[in-house]
């Protein structure tokens, strides 16, 4: 019986346990998210970054903020209860990636192969 307790659950969401999420978790997450948001708006409206690199910088900041939200607000962690959720998330990210990059790739290809007929 003791073996069961070796794998003590640390992920919030189980009624019998004290949730590991705390007000502090949310507050720290909020702080990080606000920092990332303000940084995005500053980067977009100033020349703080090398101008051609601004879109890349914005995407990096957005991904960082999404990560903050997932960890601090949605409590996706390394706990055993999160395993299934992380796997499902990985599959979802794969589909989202395929849909977005696939659409952009295909339509860009179509556009570049489009023959522009001269007006008759």
């Amino acid at each position: 019986m003791d073996g069961d307790h070796l794998f003590e659950d640390r992920t919030p969401g189980v009624e019998e346990h004290e949730p590991t999420a705390s007000y502090l978790t949310y507050t720290v997450g909020l702080g990080f998210a606000i920092l990332a948001t303000i940084a995005s708006f500053i980067v977009a409206q100033t020349n703080l970054l090398w101008p051609p690199g601004i879109p890349v910088g914005l995407i990096v900041l957005a991904l960082a903020q999404i990560g903050v939200h997932l960890v601090f607000f949605l409590h996706l962690g390394s706990g055993p209860d999160s395993t299934n959720n992380i796997l499902a998330l990985a599959f979802g990210v794969l589909i989202v990636f395929l849909v977005i990059t696939g659409s952009i790739w295909i339509i860009a290809n179509l556009n570049s192969n489009m023959m522009l007929m001269p007006a008759q």
Binding site: G3, D9, Y26, V96
Partner: protein, 212 residues
């Protein structure tokens, strides 16, 4: 040795719940419910990804009409972003208070969440109305069709989230913080946080990059 195994009484069946590694029987209902709802959220994300893809493809097709840089008011977008982010925070604090059985604190934070979400929606609807008035509605160009579809779909999700929040607050008032109500609150908070994640994509890809 736990007391349960030493005590041989037939009623002393161990009711230990599983903790995600297969041993000890099925996972608690709460874990299962949250997982199922997580799958729904991911399918919602897949739908949003199609709208993001459509926007990315159509964002240059302005048909001689205004571009994003001419239309977007980044000050408003910043206020909207802060409203949604703070409402995500108050929603998390509120659900945590509910889990720790503080109904009054839950109600206060639910009210904050509602007000912030409604403020977000109000700013968005005002912006849409202004754009339609200036003859830059969804029928103006492919870019604007994609813009209104993507941002409008997010707005619809926020509106439905607010309606469900009112419904859940009514349940808490009528039934108290019982386990089924707490599970619904947990699912609703997952939904609300996920909407904020979508909004991160919207303000980055649509507004900030559109205004470059």
């Amino acid at each position: 040795m736990t007391i349960a195994t030493m005590d041989r009484a037939p009623t002393a069946v161990t009711t230990e719940l599983a903790h995600g590694r297969g041993g000890g029987g099925p996972a608690s209902k709460r874990v299962v419910v949250a997982y199922g709802f997580w799958i729904f959220i991911l399918s919602d994300m897949v739908m949003f990804s199609a709208l993001f893809a459509a926007y990315a493809v159509l964002s240059g097709s302005t048909a001689g009409g205004p571009t994003g840089a001419e239309l977007f008011d980044l000050r408003n977008v910043f206020i909207e972003t802060m409203c949604l982010l703070l409402s995500s925070y108050t929603c998390g604090i509120g659900v945590l208070s509910a889990e720790r059985r503080y109904p009054a604190r839950f109600l206060i934070f639910a009210a904050f969440t509602f007000v912030l979400g409604a403020a977000f929606l109000f700013i968005e609807v005002t912006e849409f109305a202004r754009m339609v008035e200036m003859d830059t509605g969804p029928s103006r160009s492919g870019f604007l069709s994609a813009f209104f579809t993507l941002v409008g779909m997010h707005g619809l999700h926020v509106a439905s989230g607010l309606i469900v929040l009112v419904y859940l607050v009514a349940q808490v008032i009528a039934n108290g913080l019982r386990a089924p109500v707490l599970r619904r609150l947990l699912c609703w908070s997952l939904f609300w946080h996920a909407l904020d994640i979508v909004w991160v994509g919207v303000f980055t890809l649509v507004y900030l990059m559109g205004a470059l």
